[in-house]
Amino acid sequence: MGAQVHGTQEFDAKKRAEVKFSDAAMETVKTIISRYPAGKQKSALLPVLHVAQAEFGGWLSPEVMDYVASVLNIKPIEVFEVASFYTMYNLKPVGKCTLEICQTSSCWLCGAEDIIKYIEKKLGIKVGETTRDGMFTLKVAECLGSCGTAPMMQCGASFHENLTYEKVDAIIEKYKSEGRLRSYTDLDYNNTL
């Protein structure tokens, strides 16, 4: 009950009522909005969606998108339009760690294809799938600006570069043991060129 059609998705008004930013997230959102002139708060949409995705489990449900619309005082469809255009927003649930392996030229030249196959085998999933325990989602990505340190993959805020099978093993082991959601907005990245 309470379900209605929202864009292309099911929308649950009851669930929607439970969606709310924490105080800390709300502070961040307010800071973001303050960067734009009065009345131009829609500009905050992309960064705010990142905050929302990190806050609400790694993806943007219709209820979350609807909530973001209410926070920014714009129409729900304006949020859906944007969330569905950009690759970094997940419109379906994903694992706690989304591994995104670059497959473009420079990375391919340095063995990205083999890295992808290796991870598929190791995790027992194909690109686009999530492990049964909900820990890992495997994705391919297009050039992530790490071509000189290819092959590479991104997970949340972290860039893992000059990948080898051994490095992949260590990364997956580490993430598994930590077991938490990895978001682009994380502060604990460890990236060095």
């Binding site: 829609k42 905050a44 992309l46 030229s105 790490s146 071509c147």
Partner: protein, 446 residues
């Protein structure tokens, strides 16, 4: 050793902090500009320097600035394009990550020249951690009075902030970037009007690449004329080159424009030659969009002159035998590389990144990827080479933004210079794939 103006301090410990950056002469261009020059004088120096946009198109920066409309009572904006998504390009990331204050200093000096009191750095979402580094540097700059009200006690004020994108190559196109900055889908706008007249929120706006803006600092310090003495002809100054692929020393190199391509590839100062002692096969010299060239044409022009790392020399011979400096994304391929498969990675990329507004781009990129896939699974025929050629030839000039041609050019160039590879696959009905990971692991060089 060539002169370095942008990343000469990249190895200095703590250079990402205001204190160390300042101790190494940082923010001097802000002092000089705000205290001793009028905004127009700054623009004049940039004009004299011959600086050309480092984002890919190479448009003269001073000229672009002079187009900015200045109606009374309407705010003007400077927006830095840090979307950096052209495959093979990672120089802006390097600069922002290592020396964030170099970009901030450039933003202040440039905003002053343009009369902008609010400016934005639009950075691709995947560089989220770099946005943190920039934001930290911006906080430092505010605290020290380099940003905010009445900078250095003058009546010039500037607010600067960073906006992260959501993952979309097309947002590097300047009008798509502005749409995205307004919180919308990254659909490029029809031009005119140009951003200089109606840009961000309909106000006059200049969009410049990270490296372009950072280059304004040394230009102000040394003077446009001195800067113009570096380089050759209309290719003035230094340029960051992102070198990747089958080379011994991939990385970001700052070169004086004019270094011979051969020296860039083989000297120890730069790429250090081809990995594992292999032979060079081809180079994509300026990011995925520019035409690929085989060894003989990248090292020498069709006239037999040494090819130089300048806008003009790389373009010598037009698209028949030349290419472009583009974004400076220099991708090197050795003799064991399949040009067809490399092209497939590009075409897959453009298909993925087309915003979908124009049919020739939306459909054409999809068809090109599909046909190339036929080559990889051995089902392509010789007629497919002609079909591929036909499709690419029908995109250029028929789209709202240049992504269409950026997708078409690599296809045309691969067929132009490596048609035999396509035909061989079609005739044999078989594509011989190699595992680059395995073969590169075997180091044959002592």
């Amino acid at each position: 050793m060539g002169r370095k103006l942008l990343i000469h301090n990249d190895k200095v410990p703590g250079i990402h902090t205001l204190e160390v950056y300042r101790a190494h002469g940082g923010y001097a261009s802000v002092e000089k500009a705000l205290k001793t020059m009028t905004p127009d004088q700054v623009t004049d120096e940039v004009k004299k320097s011959g600086l050309r946009g480092r984002g890919g198109a190479g448009f003269p920066t001073g000229l672009k600035w002079s187009f900015l409309a200045k109606p009374e009572g309407v705010p003007r904006y400077l927006v830095c394009n840090a979307d950096e998504s052209e495959p093979g390009t990672f120089k802006d990331r390097y600069l922002m990550e290592k020396i964030p204050h170099a970009l901030i200093e450039g933003m202040i000096t440039s905003s002053y020249a343009l009369g902008a009191n609010t400016s934005y750095i639009y950075i691709r979402g995947e560089y989220f951690y770099v946005s943190r580094i920039l934001e930290q540097a911006i906080r430092e700059a505010y605290a020290a009075g380099w940003l905010g009200k009445n900078i250095l006690g003058t009546n010039y004020s500037l607010d600067l902030s960073v906006q992260v994108g959501g993952g979309a190559y097309i947002c590097g196109e300047e009008t798509a970037l502005l749409e995205s900055l307004e919180g919308k889908r990254g659909n490029p706008r029809i031009k005119p009007p140009f951003p200089a007249v109606a840009g961000l929120w309909g106000c006059p706006t200049v969009v410049n690449n990270v490296e372009t803006i950072a280059a304004v600092c040394p230009i102000v310090m040394m003077g446009g004329e001195e800067y113009a003495k570096i380089g050759i002809g209309k290719s003035t100054g230094t340029k960051l080159i992102s070198a990747s692929g089958h080379i011994n020393k991939p990385g970001v190199y700052e070169i004086e424009l004019g270094v011979p391509v051969e020296e860039f590839i083989y000297s120890e100062e730069y790429c250090g030659g081809i990995r594992n002692g292999k032979k060079l096969k081809a180079v994509v010299a300026g990011g995925s969009s520019v035409p690929i060239l085989p060894t003989e044409l990248i090292l020498k022009t069709a006239k037999g002159e040494p090819r130089l790392m300048t806008y003009e020399s790389l373009a010598d011979g037009g698209f028949q035998t030349g290419t472009m400096l583009g974004s400076g994304g220099f991708i090197v391929m050795d003799e064991d590389t399949s040009i067809v498969k490399n092209l497939f990675t590009f075409s897959r990329f453009y298909h993925h990144e087309s915003c979908g507004q124009c049919s020739p781009c939306r459909e054409g990129t999809g068809w090109m990827e599909k046909i190339l896939k036929k080559f990889l699974n051995g089902t392509a025929t010789e007629a497919d080479v002609d079909l591929l050629w036909d499709i690419q030839s029908k995109i250029e000039g028929k789209t709202i933004c240049p992504l269409g041609e950026a997708a078409a050019w690599p296809v045309a160039a691969a067929i132009r210079h490596f048609k035999h590879e396509f035909l061989e696959i079609a005739r044999n009905k078989k594509f011989n794939d190699v595992s680059h990971y395995e073969r590169l692991k075997k180091k044959t060089v002592a």
